[in-house]
């Protein structure tokens, strides 16, 4: 593509809008080093006390572990369920495959507030509210469509000739899948893992309907904390979370290319 000069007006406008877009993420960093008891910006004094304060806050640490275990379990189950489903839909092409895949990705079309309420009402009757299995099931409803979408795209774009060759040479369908298809889908699998983990770890709206005093996830605990008092504790926690997402993004970029995973 040939280099085109970008007009100065556009440069300035884009720069200002970028500053606006990134402002809330940028201010969090200095606040996390605040020495004040309440949030003021700019802080009147500096300290490192809010980082150890996170680990002293039992509510936050408990919620962090819940979120971490939850995201890991949800990601594992998502892969285990979506991979066979993607294989069946793309490679075995059953009648009505398109209808089925739009049904399976339909939860993404529903606003999470509506989905959250719908799940709340049914799960309340099943006794799944504020339980770990309930949270896993609720998160799966939103992670599975993402996993299915990325994996079906990954499978459909694979060159089929290699699989055909292996199959012609006598490999069983399962061996072809394990030895040929799976290794070739590597970037799709990494993308799915990262996406499911981040979606589950960051999910607030569904979780807010599903959590209670007994069990809470980190975003929900942070939400309730901010609702009551916006002190620098959340800033320090936010910095750690931003670093965590950046690490995930970098890993994905290194292994499979960011643009390929997130922008079709």
């Amino acid at each position: 593509m040939d280099e085109r000069p970008v007009s100065l007006t556009l440069k300035i406008l884009a720069g200002v809008m970028f500053a606006f877009l990134l402002a809330p993420l940028i201010v969090v960093l200095p606040i996390s080093f605040s020495g004040d008891a309440f949030m003021t910006f700019p802080p009147t004094s500096w300290s490192l006390k809010w980082y150890p304060a996170i680990f002293a806050n039992s509510k936050m640490t408990a919620a962090f572990w819940t979120s971490l275990v939850l995201a890991t379990v949800v990601t594992t189950i998502s892969l285990a369920i979506a991979l066979p489903a993607a294989y069946a839909l793309v490679r075995l092409k059953p009648a009505g495959a398109e209808v089925l895949s739009s049904l399976f990705t339909a939860p993404l079309l529903l606003p999470t507030i509506v989905l959250g309420l719908a799940i709340l009402i049914v799960f309340a009757r099943l006794g799944l509210l504020a339980t770990f299995p309930g949270l896993v099931l609720a998160h799966l409803v939103v992670t599975l469509p993402y996993a299915l979408r990325v994996l079906t795209t990954a499978l459909a774009t694979l060159p089929i000739a290699v699989e055909e060759a292996a199959s012609t040479l006598g490999a069983s369908p399962f061996t072809v899948f394990r030895r040929i298809t799976l290794p070739m889908m590597k970037s799709g699998l990494i993308g799915t893992t990262a996406l499911c983990f981040l979606v589950s770890f960051d999910e607030v709206v569904l979780s807010i309907f599903m959590t209670g005093p007994r069990i809470s996830t980190l975003p929900v605990a942070m939400y309730h904390h901010v609702e009551q008092q916006a002190d620098p504790l959340v800033a320090a926690l936010s910095v750690l979370l931003v670093v965590l997402s950046l690490v995930v993004v970098l890993v994905v970029d290194r292994t499979s290319g960011l643009a390929k995973t997130f922008v079709k």
């Binding site: 285990a80 369920i81 606003p111 507030i113 799966l140 409803v141 369908p173 942070m222 609702e227 970029d253």
Partner: protein
């Protein structure tokens, strides 16, 4: 050549093949049924349940909750308010995102990747974190008011009102708008702009007569996406509105969790879906008019 015919010799006979498909799809179908289909159908039914004056819910069908939407002016106002606020936020998001998308479309190489990461990274950060950042900027002891104070200007109330909600939601929706705009910028050919420029058109005329019309499909898609997200978002309106800004999504949450009036919450949810449907119809009409 289709995959099925190519792999046919290696595949088991038809009957067990169907069995295999069913087995592979059963888990996802089960979760879809328990976590999506059943809850959503149940929600539609719930909106017709009766609520006694004590607040207890009875499994008796009534149109009372739906009648309330028409007769109680609070709900009519709530709907009009939600739709108009969301429309305003969508327009503002478009205006703020357009320059970034255009700039991104024109940049190349590593610089483009860096900018793309900057656009996507807020998307990977929890809405709670970004809203918290806006509290730091907009609160009474935040960046804006401390700067105003330093300049000797009177403080402005920027939080716990519509201003705060609008600013916060606009920023939160920008990445979605930018990505949607970028997806629709494919028709933008620099050679057409060059031709117009060579023929003597001033930059603003090129923008108005060439760039803007060519990017209308992306604009329509981005606006649909952001409107839908704005109507249904509630974390930011709740935290930056501080219970003083009433929107459909915050009201659904309050009715579901605080007041425990599930039929009312269900009815409001279905109204949200109806608004979605309306937006989708408008979008298809707009797209047909553009293309």
């Amino acid at each position: 050549m289709s995959a099925a015919t190519a792999l046919a010799p290696a595949l088991p006979p038809r009957r067990s093949r169907l069995g295999l498909i069913v087995a592979l799809l059963a888990p996802i179908a089960l979760i879809n049924a328990i976590g999506f289909l059943a809850p959503v159908l149940n929600l539609a039914r719930m909106s017709f349940y009766e609520v006694e004056p004590t607040g207890a819910m009875r499994e008796v069908y009534t149109l009372a909750t739906w009648a309330k939407m028409v007769t109680d002016s609070f709900y009519a106002e709530l709907i009009v308010n939600s739709v108009s606020v969301s429309l305003g936020i969508t327009l503002l998001t478009l205006v703020c995102s357009y320059p970034i998308a255009l700039y991104l479309h024109r940049s190349t190489g590593t610089w483009k990747t860096i900018l793309l990461v900057l656009v996507i990274s807020p998307l990977l950060t929890s809405a709670v974190v970004r809203t918290y950042g806006w509290i730091a900027i907009l609160s009474d002891s935040g960046l804006v008011n401390n700067s105003l104070g330093a300049l000797g200007l009177p403080p402005q109330r920027m939080m716990f009102n519509l201003t705060g909600v609008t600013i916060g939601l606009t920023e939160i929706l920008m990445p979605y708008m930018i990505l949607a705009l970028l997806a629709g910028f494919g028709r933008l050919d620099p050679r057409i702009e060059e031709a117009a420029s060579t023929l003597g058109a001033p930059p603003f005329t090129i923008f108005r007569r060439i760039i803007l019309p060519l990017t209308l499909p992306g604009i329509a898609l981005g606006c649909l996406l952001c409107f839908v997200l704005a109507v249904s978002s509630f974390i930011t309106p709740k935290l930056l509105g501080g219970g003083r800004v009433f929107l459909l999504a915050t009201e659904i949450y309050d009715q579901a969790i605080v007041t425990l009036n599930w039929p009312l919450a269900a009815t409001l949810s279905i109204l949200v879906l109806v608004i979605f449907g309306g937006a989708l119809v408008l979008y298809t009409r707009a797209l047909r008019a553009i293309l």
